[in-house]
Assembly symmetry: C2
Homo-oligomer: 338 residues x 2
Amino acid sequence: MYATVMHGPGDVRYEQVNDPEILKPTDAIIQLSATCICGSDLWPYRGANAFDQPMHMGHEYCGVVIEVGADVKTIRPGQFVVGSFVLSDNTCPHCQFGYPSSCEQREFMTGAQAPYARVPLADGTLVATQDMPTEEQIPHMLAVSDVLGTGYYAAEAAGVREGSTAVVVGDGAVGLMAVLSAKLRGADRIIAMSRHETRQKLALEYGATDIVSARGEEGIAEVLELTKGVGADAVLECVGMQQSMDQAMGVCRPGGAVGFVGVPHGVTFDGQGLFFQQKRLFGGPAPVRRYLPDLMERVLSAEIQPGKVFDLTLPIAQVAEGYKAMDERRAIKTMLRV
Amino acid sequence: MYATVMHGPGDVRYEQVNDPEILKPTDAIIQLSATCICGSDLWPYRGANAFDQPMHMGHEYCGVVIEVGADVKTIRPGQFVVGSFVLSDNTCPHCQFGYPSSCEQREFMTGAQAPYARVPLADGTLVATQDMPTEEQIPHMLAVSDVLGTGYYAAEAAGVREGSTAVVVGDGAVGLMAVLSAKLRGADRIIAMSRHETRQKLALEYGATDIVSARGEEGIAEVLELTKGVGADAVLECVGMQQSMDQAMGVCRPGGAVGFVGVPHGVTFDGQGLFFQQKRLFGGPAPVRRYLPDLMERVLSAEIQPGKVFDLTLPIAQVAEGYKAMDERRAIKTMLRV
C-alpha cells in the first residue's frame, strides 16, 4: 500500500510501504475510515526532534477491523472501532487506576496516516460501536481518538468542574477541544487565549465566554483583570512551549491547577518558583482509552461535534500539502480521506 | 527584651533587641508560651540563603495575647492563641479558596524565637482556644503552628485519602508529621524513608507501616518492590533537594501525586520528563490557618501528640546550642522555653 512517511524536517511523502500485518497475536488490522494530521506531527516536521530514520506517521484513527490476531477476544472483523493514540492493555495497575496512557505495556501508535494500519494490544486499545456510524459522524469519531481526548484530559487534569473559571492557552485544535471539554465539565466561564479570528470564532462556538488575544505579560494582565485580580481556577495548557507555560502559570490562581497536554519542548520549572506560586501541575499523554466510551457516545448522540476542528480535508495522497497548510497555520487541522 | 538574631551562617545570638510593639492597627503582641527552631531555619544557618542584614529568627509560636491594635476585632488580650507561620487576612479570595498561605496580604512571621512577638494581621492569622491549655499541651499546640500543619499539607497536596498507599520522603520533623498526617487522612500503608533509628521509631509510632532506609535509585527500587512494581498513590516530599525530589517522583505511580513542602533549594523539573512520567505535583507554603481549628481540637482532645517531635528542650538563652544540635542532627527539633 501507499502510506505517509516523514524523511526529515519538511519532507513528508506518500509512498509505497509494506502492507501492515499481524505481528503479535494481540494485534488487529484496521481499514481506516479517515485519518488526520496532529499538531504534534509538526514537531519533527519543524525539526524539533532528532531523526534516526524515516518515520511512518499518524496516530489518530478510526475504521473497520479487517483481521485480528489469535489472542484478540473482544474485537472482531467487521466492527467499527476507535482507539487511543496510546496503545494499552487496559488491565495493568496503571490502566486500572485510570491512566492507560502510562500502561505498563505502553506503546505509541504509528502508521495511521494510511489506508490500513496495525493496532497492537487491540483488546485493550480499541472500542467498538454497536452500529456502523454515518459518513457525517466519521470526522467526529476520528477526533475522539486524540485531539478531543487530549483536550478533555487538559480539562480533567486542570480540575475543571461545575462552576469553574477556566483559561485555555493555545488555539490549535487541542486548545479548541479543551474549550469544548471545559464546557462539557461545567465551567461557567471559559477564557480562550487566541489571536486568530477563525479560531476565536470556533472557540466561541464551542463554549468560550471570553477571548483574550494578547500574549505574555499583557495577556496575563488581561486575564487577571477579567477575573478581578484572582486568576483562573483551572488553566488548560495546550501548546508545550516555555512562553505558553509561563502564561498558563501566570493566569492560574494559587491553589488552582494547570493541566498541560502539549508535549513540552524546552520547558523547565524552577522548584522554588513552583513552591511560592502554589499552583497544581499535572500533564502527560491523555488517558484517552478511559474517555472513549463516554466521548464516542456523546458524538453518536450528536451532543458534540468535535470534528469541526477539521477545516481542511484532503485525499491522503496530498498529505504533504496537509502538513504544509498546518505548518503555515492556513489550516487548524487536516483530515485525510483514505 | 532578649531575642534570637542570626548574624550570618552558623552565627546565632540571643541578644538585646527592641521590644515588639503594635505598628499597625491590625497587629497583636503575644507573650510566647514556647517557641522552637524550624528545619527551614537551617537553610540560612548553613549558608544556603544570602544575608543582607541580621535576621530576627522564629516563625512558630503559641502564647497569650497581651495587646491588640485598634482594628483587631476577634482576638483580645488574655486569650491563648496559635497562629500560622504565614500571616494572612483570612478574607481575600485566595484565603476564601483555601490558600491563606497565598493571601493577597501574605507576610511571613519573624521574630518568634523570643519571649514576646508581634503578630501582624492578628484577626486573620490567630485562632484562640476557649480555655488555657495545660503545660503538657503546650508543645503539641506549638507544633500545630508550622511543623504539623506543613506535614498535613504534604498529605493533602499529595491527595492522601482513605486506603491510600503513601510514601514519606524525609525523616525530619516535617517528615514525621507527614507520617502522622497521612495516618489522620486514612492511609492504609505508610512507607517512611528514613536512615536514623530514633526517627524510624517515631515514624512507626506515628503510623508508618514500613521503613525503607535506602536512598536514591536503591530506595526507589525498594519502594517499588513493596508496592508490587506500581509505586505509591501519594508521595509526601519533606526535604526540598533535587535528590529527595527525584526520589519522590521515582516512587510515585502514574496518576499519583507528589506533595512537596520542603522549600526547594536548587530543584528543577524538566517539562518533558514531568509529562511522560504523568505525576501530579503540588506544593508550597502550607495553608496552616485553614487547618488550625481542626488540628488544635485534635491536640486538645488528646487524639494526637505532635509535640513528640521535640526531642530537645532548652531555655531560649541557649538557642545557639539548639541550632547546633539540629544542624548536627543530634536533635530532630528543638523547643525553646521562654
